[in-house]
Symmetry: C2
Subunit: 374 residues, 2 copies
């Protein structure tokens, strides 16, 4: 259920047991500094997305660097973060099951807790759980802004739901969630800009409907690593929910700026350490990391080092690498440093994060909220 | 790191906390019986693949039903199975790191352990670990039979490697592994048959080369749920390594028989229990299970019940379902039973397996070897 630690502080990175998830500490720290610099003076806060890493040690560093708190997707994640002493947690998801709502309301006795709602039928359940726990729950209305997942229609429908929440004993209407997942992963700048223009328009329509209903609220949260400059400069968002900015992956590496060049703001800090276990031919190496160490929902992993190889396939426990003619560095037993295709589900496969600095292991952190998420 | 149990024995299935992995016990038991019936009288044994489920409770039932032991891919999995009292474990993978080899050789003091080798450079490392542990390791030569992953070329090259192993103090050459992963997932019968004919040919060539080298060994292992009838009837395989047969998934459901009809030997026993958390439109429902509860490397999940919906997308924590006009059963809070796209990496996401019988939870088993696998 919990695997042994693949490393201990002070050991050489070359000796880490593989497959293991590794964080380059200098790159990670620079990423945290850069996001705070990106938002400085904008009046827009960072709420770090804890669902990306599920690791309280990381969340604490994000908050120390200026984040106002964390967000996450699951009650079980919120519990881990509150237990670790984080006092402001937004669950960016609809919670509807009675047992989960009871746990969430319980957490609100120990920390500042917010949750989303997109349906009138859930309002009495939310109210009941808050009243039963003798606490107050802050509820955001989630507005559908183009992601075609959860969320109520913007404008009057959203305002009617906000009124219902505000009238429900035990609840307070706290603001809006407007997150467009698809805008995070659009490589083309113009597509991203146009998509985000529609998001901002939907938020403005909803704020206006809220104003007419006497429910003026300033708090508007959303966005992520792929879109945050648009939320920051929108004039309506007060908070962005970036998570991947601290790590990056091959999917974010495909995102381009206005001139069609790859974005340079953040750098790759997250890697999978793997080992060559087979060299059946001159042009093929096989690594000890597959679906159970790397999530390929956004594509295959990249290779950070050594150079000269390209991942061509992944199965449950193996990764197949095609090698350029005469490439050294892929002998049996050699360590290969992979770039994950997608941060969040890859973190979720690992129990431990190996923090590295140069050639040495600096620390090993538990990915304490790992799991399907109850 | 370990999530709370999503259920307890005796509770209604409808009350299981979601997302959760569930095993229909009657269907699971029938699958175990059917595989033993399929092999009965053939002289070919079943070695149940523990990498599919990573769960000792399941492995014990497979052995009680007639399996000769388990196989798995990782030393960490072998440790969990040996700790659970299973006394015959084949690691169907190349193990090359010194620390892992030391653990593997240590296990050989407590159980019958076998491991693969496909490269002469690893033979001294295997020997050293066995001698250091004061034990003997049984080593199989892995032959490349079309899967283009690990494995040495069949015939004389394989026989030379077998000789090296046999001469190395602390090791004994025990037989051949000939596994063709791609043959497991070919829907078309004729393609599967032709691929397996090449596998059997490669095994025969190698057995002949071994005979010439004075290394006659009867033990030939390989195959899986998609190909086992070919190994069983080959005249050269002595063992099949099926794992998914006990559970099935949408990928295996695509496999066809000689007449182009779906295979009927086994039935779906593994499900993901999820909950509707949002109903933004009449035609869209959103479930609380995404990449962290279901691995979509082999495609999206199917829906076992209720009828009338089709999964159209999956993100980290959500699944989007398109609903037929007027479909009931997808109200907020309702439970939806999903069919996984791929057994092995989906098991790996969960800490607990909820055993169900009819409408009640019968037991909850730990997926004790879950993890990237050290």
């Amino acid at each position: 259920m919990i695997e042994s630690r693949p490393a201990h502080a002070g050991m050489p990175v070359a000796d880490v047991d593989t497959p293991a998830l590794a964080l380059d500490m200098p790159a990670f720290t620079r990423n945290l500094e850069r996001m705070q610099a990106e938002l400085a003076g904008s009046g827009v806060a960072l709420r770090a997305h804890g669902k990306a890493h599920k690791c309280p040690d990381i969340a604490k560093r994000q908050i120390a660097m200026g984040a106002v708190g964390v967000c996450c997707q699951k009650v079980s994640e919120a519990e881990v973060f509150v237990d670790a002493g984080i006092d402001s947690v937004l669950v960016t998801n609809e919670i509807v099951a009675a047992a989960k709502l009871a746990r969430l309301a319980g957490l609100a006795r120990r920390a500042d807790i917010m949750v989303l709602c997109d349906d009138a039928s859930v309002v009495p359940l939310l109210g009941e759980s808050a009243r039963a726990a003798g606490t107050a729950l802050k509820v955001l209305v989630e507005v559908e802004v183009g992601g075609k997942r959860c969320g109520i229609a913007p404008g009057e429908e959203a305002a009617r739901l906000a009124s219902l929440i505000e009238r429900e004993s035990g609840l307070s209407f706290a603001g809006l969630q407007a997150y467009c997942g698809s805008a995070q992963h659009k490589p083309d700048y113009a597509e991203r800009r146009d998509m985000m223009a529609r998001v901002v328009e939907a938020v403005k329509t909803t704020l206006s409907a809220l104003g007419e209903a006497g429910l003026t609220r300033a708090y508007v949260t959303g966005g992520g690593t792929g879109s945050y400059p648009f939320e920051r400069d929108s004039g309506v968002f007060t908070e962005v929910q970036a998570g991947s900015y601290a790590f990056l992956d091959t999917d974010y590496a495909r995102i381009l700026d206005e001139d069609g060049a790859p974005l340079q703001t953040f750098e790759q800090s997250l890697f999978i350490l793997s080992t060559v276990i087979s060299r059946p031919t001159k042009n093929r190496a096989v690594l000890d990391a597959g679906h159970k160490a790397h999530s390929m929902d956004s594509g295959l992993a990249g290779i950070a080092e050594p150079p000269g190889g390209q991942v061509t396939g992944q199965s449950d426990e193996h990764m197949v690498v095609a090698l350029d003619e005469g490439t050294p560095g892929f002998a049996i037993g050699n360590q290969v440093r992979l770039i994950p295709g997608h941060v969040d589900p890859t973190f979720n496969l690992h129990d431990w994060l190996v923090c590295i600095r140069g050639d040495a292991v600096e620390d090993v952190w538990p990915i304490a909220a790992r799991g399907p998420g109850l």
